[in-house]
Symmetry: C2
Subunit: 258 residues, 2 copies
């Protein structure tokens, strides 16, 4: 029995999110199917966290155990042959004993991409939020800096109680962490031609947290709220204090650190 760690990238567009669901294409289900096709073994790979429908990954991590001994390069090649082009295995390796893609994660990095082009290229549309109001970069940066450090992020967590429960059961963070307190190490915007790109690194993320942060920062970027209202929104510990949820398609899971 070997414990495996995969690093994989995927286009979230054709999938109903990471988590396996009956009769719907999901990344976890498609990966499990490919593993079974190659090894004959039925396993459910555990992701570092679930990504919602339409969310992409540049480097998601998954762990699972297999009975069959397989050279890591062979498993990677065989999976890339069996999987659709929308999922690629970047690396496959034997993990140290006790490794778990979700429970062992220490820091995660997400990126969110907004296109400010007057007409968004159809080839880019599945990967950005096409935002039609001007967004001021300096204001976005001031707003984003307010969440650095350790805060209670209840105001930026999915308000749907069912979603919140699912989050505590199965989302990013170790199951013992039942609070909404998270530590943010990096939170910054940069501009690249028509793209505004937000990058955030933290100890963990509540369900919808990055999309709710981006939706709120965008409210600041358009001048609807002042950037210094972010501390007030955090202090409210109420989802309704924050801005709308930014669309899934602009979000990328970029890195998981262990």
């Amino acid at each position: 029995m070997s414990l495996w760690k995969l690093i994989l990238t995927y286009d979230g567009t054709p999938f109903n999110g990471w988590q396996v669901q009956p009769s719907l294409p999901t990344v976890q289900g498609t990966l499990a199917h490919a593993i079974h096709h190659i090894t004959g073994e039925s396993v459910l790979p555990q992701g570092s966290g679930r990504t919602d429908a339409g969310v992409h990954a540049l480097a998601q991590v998954a762990s699972f155990s297999l009975d069959a001994p397989i050279p890591p390069a062979n498993l990677r090649h065989a999976l890339n042959r069996a999987l659709p082009a929308s999922i690629r295995i970047l690396s496959a390796e034997i993990a140290p004993a006790g490794f778990h893609a979700r429970h062992s994660a220490r820091r995660k990095t997400y990126e969110y991409r907004i296109s400010t082009a007057a007409i968004c290229s159809p080839m880019l549309a599945p990967y950005v939020w096409s935002h039609h109001l001007p967004l001021d970069l300096a204001t976005l940066e001031r707003a984003a800096a307010h969440i650095l450090g350790t805060h209670d992020f209840t105001s930026f967590s999915a308000s749907d109680p069912d979603l919140a429960t699912r989050t505590n059961q199965t989302d990013d963070d170790p199951p013992q962490e039942k609070t909404a307190i998270r530590t943010i190490h990096h939170s910054a915007w940069h501009q690249h031609e028509d793209l505004l790109v937000y990058r955030i690194t933290g100890s963990g993320f509540l369900h919808h947290m990055v999309r709710n942060l981006v939706g709120t920062f965008a409210e600041a970027g358009t001048g609807r709220i002042p950037p210094h209202s972010i501390p007030t929104i955090l202090a409210a510990r109420n989802r309704s204090a924050a801005g709308p949820t930014a669309p899934a398609r602009g979000l990328f899971l970029v890195e998981v650190e262990y």
Copy 2:
């Protein structure tokens, strides 16, 4: 009654090509539906040429007539609101009398993109041919230079007689041009990181012609055939003399000149 000229860009992935088909999503059908939604008028916009399923356009041209007087900027905005994000109208203008998107076209430019990355990003996969054998750029360039000028391109035209007939009836070129003789003004490769990009400008193109040229150039690029065999392949005037058809997803219609 006004004659309209639209310039539009689309992602070919979700469509069964340009040409309208019953019960299948096509670019022409989706555009006709949006025009009807806005104006109440049933028209079939004529493209500069049909693109096959999976082929993309950076600047396709379409023409049609409308009874209703509409300011051009309003038609563009209304169409972009009515259309899916996979089709964007870049410009809408009143065309000179007698203009026809296909019959009036003088030159067209296509681009073909090959990814040579060991693992092709899922976000790039719908827009490139992921080619797993090394391709020599200098050899690709030598092969591509052989088609400059005026030649009979029968060897690079779709061999399916049904397809060939359809081409003469409805494809790129004025209907009087029933021969396979075309003039190529530009035919060159360049490399940008992991992408090999081929660009071709010509008086017109037979069905599958760019994809058959790229498939044949790739045979030269891998060393399977010498680049100087291109004139021999042209002289054969036989589809079986040339290489395979490159996949649709790497092909972009870039510009139509009038």
